[in-house]
Symmetry: C2
Subunit: 250 residues, 2 copies
């Protein structure tokens, strides 16, 4: 599928179902009015395609509306580090707006739909709606926090722990968005994605996942992940209960 931009939005921000989720803070009418005209359209990207490419400057920014994406970097030796996975409501491309260009790329993991914003309008947003400017900072700080967590995972945890951690984190985030419940969630990742996110080799990722399955801790069937013993997984992954936050969405 080719990327496609629709000039006339199919979804009006004011009636956006994503925005209505209890996970997201309510906007004022003025803020919503601004968002409506800030939004430039919508766009679909096929699974596997890049949304933004490292070192290329883009004139657009996006909010992920549906599907999964991931931020990553290709190193000179050909290995790929995935920094984190993006779920609906996540903002994409801020770095390319704040600096000239980004140092990393963003790719669609599944087919993805995006709300499109004009980079040149970002400054207007800061000027006219300080509250939205603050939201942009919030989202950036939040994403940094996710990367921090991933760094702690890759730096300090062993293979079992890393994979358990990743699964718990992605389950939690989906649960928060009401995309999952009862420790069962969509799971579009290949083992290669998991390997690249956790810094493990593909082979060892496979072995470790098989081990987790044999222990009856997890189960994967098709694109569906079940966490069978969440408490035990959490102990293994050394995660504490982490508070869910009310968050902004653009």
């Amino acid at each position: 599928m080719a990327p496609r931009t629709t000039a006339t939005p199919n979804v009006d921000c004011k009636s956006c179902p994503l925005r209505r989720l209890p996970a997201f803070r309510a906007f004022t009418d003025d803020e919503l009015d601004f968002m409506v005209q800030f939004k430039r359209g919508e766009m679909k990207i096929a699974a596997g395609a890049d949304i933004l490419t490292a070192n290329a400057s883009s004139t657009h920014m996006f909010t992920l509306y549906s599907g999964w994406a991931f931020r990553y970097l290709l190193l000179p030796d050909g290995t790929r580090q995935i920094f984190n996975f993006l779920l609906p409501g996540d903002f994409i491309g801020l770095q390319s707006s704040v600096f000239d260009a980004m140092e990393h790329s963003v790719a669609a993991l599944t087919e993805v739909s995006l709300c499109v914003f004009q980079r040149s309008e970002l400054w207007t947003l800061y000027r006219q709606f300080p509250s939205l400017g603050f939201d942009v900072t919030w989202l950036t700080a939040h994403e940094e926090h996710l990367v921090d967590d991933n760094l702690a995972t890759v730096g300090q945890r062993d293979a079992r722990s890393r994979i358990a951690y990743l699964m718990l984190q992605l389950y939690r985030r989906q649960e928060h968005l009401e995309l999952a419940k009862k420790y069962v969630c969509p799971w579009p990742l290949t083992q290669q994605h998991i390997a690249d996110a956790t810094g493990l080799s593909l082979v060892h990722t496979n072995r470790t996942m098989r081990w987790l399955m044999r222990q009856g801790l997890i189960e994967i069937d098709g694109e569906r992940l079940s966490l069978h013993k969440p408490e035990q997984l959490m102990r293994m992954a050394m995660v504490d209960e982490d508070r869910l936050r009310l968050r902004p969405i653009l």
Copy 2:
């Protein structure tokens, strides 16, 4: 040395020598006026002491004025992951302002002096000076980028590469601040810091550093690091020339 706050600033923002560096963007008079009254005082923290502690909410934010600090997390099993090192001009404690509390801690690596800001005033900053609000986002995005790099390093590089990378990065940042030149720079880190930042064991960190020294690639004497063959180090660390950016400072 006990933490100490001086009510009357010794350094007026308007004549701040740090701010004058070519690395930092020039502020307008209005912005400077605002900063003067935004700043609440100064503070010194002894080497080794925490500046901010995980899960504790602080009413303050800081700009690092002199010395080194680092952001870190203690995992339940006692290991420590250092997310990144902070140098003069870096902003500290945004996460604790944007969320309720931070998930990580920040410690002084050397003795440190800080400019102190009131968290409750942050909102005023966004409202009255969109340009400064944008700067806060800039700094947050920039820090995220640093963590991204560190994650790619820990996830994909081997021991030699990780340590070479860390040294090059810290040299570059110091050079940018005119704290170093000719591939020689201050180096207050212990091997334990390096180990915790790179996700290596202390012993292996030591062996790897010795190896780098025996190869004549680096030299450490006291608190001074020399990079003897920067091109070779860069190849080993797989770093490309990275552009230096004009950055804001608060």
